[in-house]
């Protein structure tokens, strides 16, 4: 039995913000796959008030905005991302990422907003959203703000979610000109139900001359927060694809990573993984963008 003092089923974003203000210390819950596990391990003597986002229809939508961007609600589950027609048509890369999380049961419960707001350096949705230059819509008592996902991660398990604020949706810009290719590789001990030892998401487009354009590379579990490899990206931009290019880009990305040693892997092994995975994912992103080797 969890020690839950109260459970509010909010039906709107405004109601949620009011509840957050009226019940300081209350926790937001959607899938519960992080929070309930934490509560299981915490002292049963600490009663918790929960504000559930599960009934808020606006938070669970996937649609194209007026400006032609993709909007994914914070309480969309990973299973929904895997199977959503709009995502499969416009950004199948996200479906590929969503399929790497947990297992079937967890994907039916866990939400992309919950994953992002955990601020875990290993959060699987983070590298992809960083690589896609996603923007986050955050709503609080002061109103709405749009935040570049690059600015969201402040430290391990710390995100720029202010008091009484909620993440309402994730906006992914869609380029209408060129086909975008993306690929996420999650290196972990198991093939499922595991936290990434190291992960990498690469995204690129190719131009008429088959050169790499808009290259973005992001790493998970390679630093105190999920990060972009800006130097590696700048180096790759505009270049012809080649095995040598991949190796050089991977080496530069390696210099930007700041992994630590943990029980899962040593810092040295993680640095090695950065080199391997940046090359592997950038190559696949290039192929997915229509590139030819």
């Amino acid at each position: 039995m969890f020690n839950i003092k109260e459970h509010f089923s909010a039906t709107s974003i405004n109601e949620t913000i009011r509840l957050l203000q009226d019940y300081p210390g209350a926790k937001l819950i959607a899938g519960g796959t992080d929070l309930l596990v934490k509560m299981r391990k915490a002292s049963p003597k600490c009663p918790v008030s929960l504000i559930s986002l599960r009934e808020i229809v606006e938070l669970s939508q996937i649609y194209l905005t007026e400006t032609g961007n993709l909007s994914i609600g914070a309480t969309v589950t990973f299973d929904e991302i895997c199977n959503n027609e709009l995502i499969l048509e416009k950004m199948p890369f996200l479906a590929q990422v969503a399929a790497t999380i947990g297992g079937p049961q967890l994907r039916n419960m866990a939400t992309v907003g919950g994953n992002l707001c955990s601020g875990a350096p290993s959060a699987d949705s983070a590298p992809a959203l960083l690589a896609l230059d996603a923007r986050l819509e955050l709503i609080g008592p002061q109103g709405k703000r749009l935040l570049d996902v690059k600015e969201f991660f402040l430290g391990p398990f710390q995100v720029d979610l202010r008091d009484n604020e909620i993440l309402s949706c994730i906006i992914i810009p869609l380029s209408s000109e060129r086909a975008l290719g993306g690929y996420y590789y999650k290196y972990s001990m198991r093939n499922a139900m595991d936290i990434a030892t190291l992960s990498c998401a690469s995204v690129c487009e190719i131009d008429a001359k088959n050169c790499l354009k808009s290259v973005r590379i992001a790493l998970g579990t390679a630093a105190p927060t999920p990060i972009r490899c800006f130097k590696a990206e700048r180096f790759a931009e505009g270049q012809q694809f080649s095995k040598e290019l991949l190796e050089r880009v991977a080496l530069i990305a390696q210099s930007e990573a700041k992994p630590r040693s943990s029980w899962r892997a040593s810092k040295e092994y993680r640095l090695h993984l950065v080199k391997v995975l940046v090359a592997r994912t950038l190559k696949q992103a290039y192929l997915n963008a229509g590139g030819v080797i």
Binding site: I4, P104, Q105, M193
Partner: protein, 159 residues
């Protein structure tokens, strides 16, 4: 204590639950459906897997409150008559059951998988049961049981 209404194995139930009560506890303790097993209690082993609106979830980290207005299916609901379903029979024939503790969870995951795809590939089966752990069997027989359930068997039937 809030009151919820839900269908469990096809029957409408009206139940009072505690805020902190999990679906696992509600099914086992209030409805006597002890086929749903308590394993790790943190959503990692899959022993507590049930279907909510046709989708497998780990009931140990799913609040009972949340099942209001929904349809729950447990292992007890796989057949109406109390006989074994063809999936369950396949598990028996392929030797997929040793201690049996993980089996209800596997059956629910497999049932959901087979509803989506009648003849999954081995890779699809492995992915479909990736949230269920077994300490006894080494998984091979479980995978074969799921693979063979919709095939016509050419093996001699067990006596």
């Amino acid at each position: 204590m809030p009151e919820i209404n839900c269908y469990v194995n096809g029957e409408l139930k009206n139940i009072c639950v505690d805020y902190g009560e999990t679906l696992l506890m509600m099914l086992r303790n209030r409805l006597g459906l002890t086929g749903v097993k308590k394993g790790c209690e943190v959503g990692e082993c899959g022993a507590c897997t049930v279907l909510v609106d046709g989708k497998p979830v780990t009931s140990c980290i799913y609040l009972a409150l949340w099942v209001d207005g929904k349809n729950v299916l447990t292992v007890e609901g796989l057949t109406a008559s109390g006989e074994l379903s063809s999936l369950q029979q396949s598990f028996v024939e392929e030797g997929a059951v040793q201690c049996g503790f993980c089996i209800p969870g596997f059956l629910m995951s497999a049932y959901a998988l087979l509803k989506k795809k009648k003849h999954p590939t081995e890779t699809e089966i492995r992915n479909g049961i990736a949230g269920n752990f077994c300490r006894c069997t080494g998984y091979e027989n479980i995978i074969r049981a799921i693979k063979n359930v919709n095939q016509t068997s050419t093996k001699a039937k067990l006596p």
